[in-house]
């Protein structure tokens, strides 16, 4: 077949067409001439005749050039949709790009789904974690002008963020220049609500009458507590219920207002229901009932004169700042107040500093919270790394596609499209992908935040983790989607429109893609690095968790049940209460399957720790030294058996320790070593600062055991007999022979039969009780999140490595074919591809180790039993990642050795 191209090109030469256009016309016309030539031959012409005729037809009177001159050299018209002016052209362009993008994505569903799912995982993870950070740190209290709500705390003797009622009255009167109002709340007391023969435990806030004035909201039913109420102990027996408690426990009875009930045996009237979502003091705490402060005497431990007792510090102060008050003014006014009160009441209010700061949405604290922000930022950073890894994967897929589409793009540029316009078009595509990913990500995020918020605190207080998605979360997800769309799209778009377009249009497909190699390889190296960093951090967290789980608690949590006993909730007097708990203990011991049973004021790691300043006889305390203090617990006989705490010396608390016998204490090892180093502490005496008249004689030494948290060093601790220091409520602890869960219902049933009016919470196993924020919870959460992110990062890296190596191997099919044809053995080819894989994995691992090293230094304080540079974790995780990544390169390598040289060579 003659080559027409030369003749046609000659004809077109005078037109000076754009190369791409010229190539297209030449191709089409040449085909026509081929067909014509064949037709002429078939009609009986000789080859020479056919050639001559065809050439005549093409050069006929220069018709081709003349005709094309008119068609091709009209002013180029960009299609305009919405208008003719520049501005509207941009809009029109955007609209066109979007439609084109949607078509392109719809045409490649496989690619679209993979890319969108990848981004959805990244965005979803970020959204879930952000929803948590949002709920804990960002979302304000659901009250009007939440930025005006302040809380107060004092430092110095008698300081903290708990104040007495007389303190409140004095501070309020002396700070009217700062605050428009100031209320006091006694947060979360357990009470027993009885109504129509049913008893419920109810978490109640006792509040001053002006408390409900401040949030600026209306009740759902009835009224709130009035400013005139709560000033007199025992007066104003009214109750306002929380919305969800009213719904869940009282059947959302709309006629509830005015109904009678009793709280801890005292008659009260229900006067109102708070609106849904009413959490004026903390977004995390779900208070169930509100009563006037004076009614705090329903608790039989509250003295009837507590409203006048300056030392009875039970109130958190909530104040509304007047508009336009500066921090300097707050400080100067409060300094004066603190000095005045300290001078006037040196015993109760010896304050050095009194400060006010915005009430954190998570609830009242002594200091503005800081640590939570660091942890939140850390997890958001890790999550962002995962998202970047996802973006890199999508960028890699887009790069691969860009090389496939280079022909199309070159053509469009040749036809006069500006480079910026094409980049805009490609970015529109990646942004559309990211928006798809955003939608998927919100679904993933919703599931994730459900999981996060369902993590139980295992604590006996009504904490609700409400990680619902508000505008902040949606905004964050959308912003992430836009950013990731640009990150994933910009490099491929740039690459696709760069380089010599002529070469693309004329050359064969194989030579055009080498440019993208370096970039893709670089991206995957970064990806391997990022994923290794995530895995190392996850490894450190998991090792911490394992260390903690293996760590010696000093007691044996297996086979132990905890049941809270609070007979005061049923209206029992103090004496009746103690009789009741004694009889419960006696009968429980008689139940089958019980090894031992005892009472304790607090449960280890329950977040409810008691400590006292102590004075040790014969140990002169110098004025410079701080008064020594020790933690303590009040326990009944058999406590050490029940908890499995070994006694090292002397005896435990037993039946001989009666109310009127010698006051005794069992101390821990740390206390013995601290106060009586090298001596026998048995028989030595010390007293607690709260009760100097009754010194305690040491009768035994127990092993150190974990009481307040798992990571800080164990300090001095002592145990005193329940018979000698009565306290309520108490926890009944039971050691069972079999599974504790199986014994629980029997014990609960027994208690209910003894006191039907007393609400009893379910029995909790001691192992569950360890999962509190003070115990394992934080480590489990941290390890879980970090591991989830590490695994996600690993999967993304595997996909990345696999994708790039497969692609590179395909690109080298021709070369591999030649090698095989020249006698290369499959093993050699396998090694060649593996070497390419190692070229990605090894530099990536080095980068990852360095990055992890930098990041892990931030973690130092959170890790337990493992340093932030733990060589085992670094080496182990690096080897794991390297092996997995090399495994991912095996499949492409294997496939490369299967290349048939004949087929490969035919590619040309």
């Amino acid at each position: 077949m003659p080559d027409w191209k030369e003749e046609i090109t000659k004809q077109l030469a005078s037109l000076k067409l754009a190369p791409a256009r010229e190539a297209e016309i030449v191709e089409e016309v040449a085909q026509h001439l081929d067909d014509r030539y064949r037709e002429l031959l078939a009609g009986g012409a000789t080859e020479a005749e056919a050639l001559r005729t065809a050439l005549e037809e093409i050069s006929e009177e220069k018709l081709l050039a003349k005709g094309l001159e008119r068609v091709e050299h009209q002013a180029p018209q960009e299609p305009v949709v919405l208008g003719a002016r520049e501005k509207t052209n941009i809009l029109a362009g955007l609209w066109q790009d979007t439609r084109f993008g949607v078509r392109i994505l719809a045409k490649n569903p496989g690619f679209t789904v993979v890319a969108a799912v990848t981004l959805a995982l990244g965005i979803g993870l970020n959204t879930a974690i952000f929803s948590m950070v949002n709920a804990l740190l960002l979302r304000p209290l659901p009250v009007s002008h939440p930025e005006q709500i302040y809380t107060l705390s004092a430092s110095g003797k008698g300081g903290g963020n708990a104040f007495s009622y007389p303190d409140l009255e004095d501070i309020r009167k002396q700070t009217t220049s700062l605050f428009s109002d100031m209320a006091g709340v006694q947060i979360l007391s357990t009470t027993g609500l009885s109504m129509a023969g049913k008893s419920e435990r109810m978490w109640t806030d006792f509040v001053t009458g002006n408390f409900f004035e401040m949030p600026g909201i209306r009740p759902a039913l009835g009224r709130f507590i009035l400013p005139s109420e709560g000033h007199v102990a025992g007066a104003d027996p009214v109750l306002v219920l929380n919305y969800s408690f009213w719904q869940a426990h009282l059947g959302a009875d709309r006629n509830i207002v005015g109904k009678k009930a009793s709280v801890n045996g005292r008659p009260v009237t229900i006067v109102g229901v708070a609106p849904e979502g009413f959490r004026p003091v903390s977004t995390l705490i779900e208070t169930q009932g509100y009563m006037p402060l004076g009614m705090a005497v329903v608790d039989n431990q509250t003295k009837s004169d507590f409203l006048n007792d300056r030392q009875d510090k039970r109130l958190v102060l909530i104040a509304r700042l007047k508009p336009g008050i500066t921090q300097g003014k707050i400080r100067s006014v409060l300094d004066v107040v603190a000095k005045r009160l300290a001078a006037e009441y040196p015993k109760a209010d010896d304050w050095k500093v009194l400060k006010a700061f915005p009430l954190p949405a998570t609830g009242p604290t002594s200091d503005p919270p800081e640590g939570l922000g660091v942890v939140g930022a850390l997890f958001l950073t890790l999550a962002a790394v995962v998202l970047i890894l996802a973006c890199v994967n999508v960028a890699n897929i887009l790069l691969a596609r860009a090389s496939v589409r280079r022909g199309e793009i070159a053509m469009r540029i040749a036809l006069g499209a500006k480079r910026g316009r094409i980049i805009g078009q490609l970015l529109t595509e990646s942004l559309l992908l990211a928006l798809l990913g955003c939608v998927g990500g919100l679904v993933v995020g919703l599931v994730g935040s459900r999981v996060l918020s369902s993590l139980s605190f295992h604590m006996d207080i009504p904490i609700t983790l409400d990680f619902h998605f508000d505008w902040r979360v949606f905004g964050y997800a959308l912003a992430l989607a836009l950013v990731s769309g640009v990150i994933a799209g910009i490099a491929p778009a740039w690459r696709a429109t760069a380089g010599d377009l002529n070469e693309v249009l004329h050359g064969s497909g194989r030579t055009t893609t080498t440019g993208g190699h370096g970039l893709r390889k670089g991206l995957v190296i970064a990806q391997v690095g990022g994923s290794l960093m995530l895995l190392i951090v996850a490894g450190l967290f998991v090792r911490s968790l394992l260390n903690i789980q293996k760590s010696d608690l000093g007691f044996d949590p297996q086979h132990v049940l905890n049941i809270a006993l609070n007979p005061g909730l049923a209206g029992y007097s103090e004496t009746q209460s103690y009789e009741f708990v004694d009889s419960v203990l006696e009968r429980v011991r008689a139940l089958p399957g019980i090894q031992s049973a005892s009472l304790a004021a607090t449960v280890p790691l329950g977040g409810n720790n008691m400590a006292e300043d102590i004075e040790v006889e014969g140990l002169a305390s110098s004025p410079q030294q701080q008064t020594p203090s020790a933690g303590y617990n009040i326990v009944s006989p058999a406590y050490f058996e029940t908890m499995g705490i070994r006694l090292l010396h002397g005896r435990g608390i037993d039946e001989t320790d009666k109310q009127n016998s010698v006051r005794v204490a069992v101390i821990n090892q740390a206390m013995a070593e601290r106060f009586w180093p090298g001596k026998d502490p048995i028989g030595k005496r010390f007293s607690s600062a709260g009760d100097l008249n009754h010194p305690l004689e040491v009768v035994g030494v127990a092993r150190n055991s974990r009481t307040s948290d798992l990571s800080s060093p164990e300090g001095p601790f002592y145990y005193v007999p329940f018979a000698q220091q009565r306290v309520l409520p108490v926890t009944l602890q039971v050691r069972t022979f079999g599974k504790p869960e199986a014994t629980g219902p029997g014990v609960i049933g027994l208690i209910r039969s003894l006191a039907p009016a007393m609400p009893v919470a379910d029995a909790q196993t001691m192992t569950d009780a360890l999962n509190t924020p003070n115990g394992l919870w934080l480590f489990q959460l941290g390890a879980g999140l970090a591991a989830a992110m590490g695994i996600l990062g690993l999967i993304l890296a595997i996909i990345g490595v696999y994708g790039v190596l497969s692609y590179m191997a395909t690109q080298r099919t021709h070369e591999i074919g030649i090698r095989l044809a020249l006698g290369a053995r499959p093993g050699q080819i396998l090694r060649m591809i593996f070497r390419q894989g190692a070229g990605i994995v090894v530099p990536g691992a080095v980068i990852g180790v360095i990055a992890a090293f930098a990041l892990a230094r931030l973690l130092g304080g959170v890790l337990v039993g493992v340093t932030s540079t733990d060589p085992l974790t670094y080496a182990g995780v690096s080897v794991l990642l390297t092996l997995v990544a090399l495994a991912a390169s095996y499949i492409p390598a294997r496939r490369a050795t299967k290349v048939d040289p004949i087929v490969a060579l035919r590619y040309e």
């Binding site: 089409e28 026509h32 014509r36 006929e60 018709l63 081709l64 094309l68 009209q74």
Partner: protein, 114 residues
């Protein structure tokens, strides 16, 4: 058969109509279009490559037809032209105009039977 000047004029006026009609039912490539014109006119009307393609590109530029490269297995890719919606409207109106014209010519050129 060399084209006479009359021939050229005649073609120019009707060429667009011919092409649009031929791709009305289905897309066709340039060579196919030229073959069909030749066949259906019994060899009376012919478009050579040099005049066909400028015409096709002009129609395309006007948005009446749309060319598209199509690859079929075992063959080289070819550019197929199909009628756009706009082209369809133009065809309808040209066809109508042509019929009116032909009828008018017929009436004039008919032998008068006195």
């Amino acid at each position: 058969m060399d084209p006479t000047p009359t021939d050229l004029e005649w073609k120019k006026g009707s060429a667009e109509l011919l092409i649009l009609s031929l791709i009305e039912a289905r897309p066709r490539h340039g060579y196919e279009i030229s073959k069909l014109i030749e066949q259906r006119s019994g060899g009376t009307v012919r478009f050579h490559v040099a005049s066909l393609y400028p015409l096709l590109y002009r129609l395309e530029k006007r948005g009446w037809v749309q060319g598209r490269w199509v690859e079929k297995s075992g063959q080289r890719r070819r550019r197929y032209y199909r009628l756009t919606a706009q082209g369809r409207r133009v065809l309808a109106s040209q066809r109508h105009g042509w019929q009116v014209f032909v009828e008018a010519i017929n009436r004039i050129t008919e032998v008068e039977h006195a």
